[in-house]
């Protein structure tokens, strides 16, 4: 798609994306990222028990029709618009605030076009881009804030064909989610016509229920936070060991339980 923003801004955005893409998601995040038996990196998406059960592949009640990818969220209110919201298994319980069933899947992020929204330069470029949109004033000066954000961020990701936005958590829990450390991903699922698609994101392979959390969360701070109802029995949570345990469960087709 041809950009309507000034060519210099367009070039800067392309350059920033190219730089993050050359770095690659693995090096961008660092750390010992757990992998599948097949060597691919593992990602986790927490969902409610009702829908997590569809990804159960072992035991009583194992699903006979496991979805082939991870669900794409289309509702307004998701940080970077329509996409598949996951975390690398580096941050094993970071998005557990959204449900007690952790669906783990493997993927190869090599070559993903990345937009690092944790980088202040990238952030400013996006804000500058948004300010040149013809509907910028209408989108930002009306009551439709969630719709406006969704529209603008979808448009930005389409314009620059961004496969993955890396961003810090923006709904927090003091025990499970670490704003300064954890990184969330909004991963694009493209249609044949080059648009953002809904459904199940097929980049994520062999999804299965691999972790169940003995915890409940409820919204707090007017929706910005998620308070643990039960709370961890011991602190701090050993995220590194937890990631290993969940990876082992995935690789042995079993389910790890994380007790509160």
């Amino acid at each position: 798609m041809t950009a309507i923003v000034p060519p210099l801004l367009d070039a800067h955005i392309h350059a920033q994306i190219a730089s993050a893409t050359r770095t690659g998601l693995v090096h961008l995040l660092g750390g010992s990222w757990p992998r599948s038996n097949g060597g691919k990196h593992l990602f986790v998406k927490f969902t409610s028990a009702r829908y997590g059960a569809a990804y159960r592949t072992v035991g009583v009640g194992a699903s006979s029709a496991v979805p082939t990818g991870l669900f794409v969220s289309t509702s307004a209110g998701f940080t970077w618009g329509q996409g598949c919201y996951v975390t690398p298994l580096l941050y094993p319980v970071s998005n557990a605030i959204y449900g007690r069933c952790g669906i783990v899947a493997e993927a190869d992020p090599a070559g993903w076009r990345l937009f690092d929204a944790t980088d202040p330069v990238s952030q400013q470029l996006y804000l500058d881009w948004a300010s040149f949109q013809p509907y910028y004033r209408a989108l930002t000066l009306t009551t439709h804030s969630q719709l406006a954000n969704q529209y603008l961020r979808n448009a930005f990701r389409r314009q620059y064909r961004i496969d993955c936005v890396v961003f810090p958590p923006d709904e927090l829990n003091p025990h499970y989610t670490r704003r300064r450390v954890d990184r969330w991903l909004a991963v694009s699922h493209w249609s044949g016509s080059g648009d953002l698609a809904a459904g199940y994101c097929s980049r994520f392979l062999n999804p299965r229920l691999a972790v169940v959390l003995a915890e409940e969360f409820e919204a707090s701070h007017r929706g910005i936070g998620r308070r643990s109802v039960i709370g961890p029995t011991s602190l701090p949570i050993d995220h590194v060991q937890l990631a290993r345990d969940i990876a082992t469960a995935y690789n042995t087709s079993s389910i790890a339980t994380v007790t509160a």
């Binding site: 309507i4 209408a138 016509s193 809904a198």
Partner: protein
Amino acid sequence: MNTALQLASDFIERAGNHAFGQEINEEYVLRWERLKLSGTPIATLGIADLSREDIGVLSLDAWLWLGSTLGVDDPEYPAPFVDALFKSTDDPIQRLRVADMSLRHPALAQRYAQLGEPQSLDECPQSWVKSWLLALTRQQEPMEGGIEEMAVLLLQVGNHPALRLLRALRRTRTDMVDGVIRTMRGISEDNFADFINRLRL
């Protein structure tokens, strides 16, 4: 009366109407995707037969969500129906969303890909936007703001069909379209021609 749609309306509202909140929306969208894994729910809804009289069955949000789920093999909302959706609101953001949804149907992208470069509105593949633009350009007393609104809207949507339609519109209403472009942030006389060339308008 579209009975199937009426029966499904509560479900579709919970999937698409933001008034239900993100968690409910997410739950029902997930249920919708699971339905699609085992069947063809779209085929039961009579999309191709929708008329102006069906507007009240769903909220605008729900219509927009349902329209955005239509794939390349699914029917498009009929042009008179989209026309009614567009005119059901004065809110510029909602009107943008209606046009955006209509311009992003994958079948429309295919028609433009197969056609090449239309030189006039008449040569453009059939769509609600084409019909509306033709109506606007042929009115003896042009609707105030109609062409300007559509020019901004097409620039914002910015996909291939939108820009081809804008080019065709510019050929018949050059001054109006150029007037809109000149008001855009970052556009000056120095770079106006470059902007036109870049977007192949």
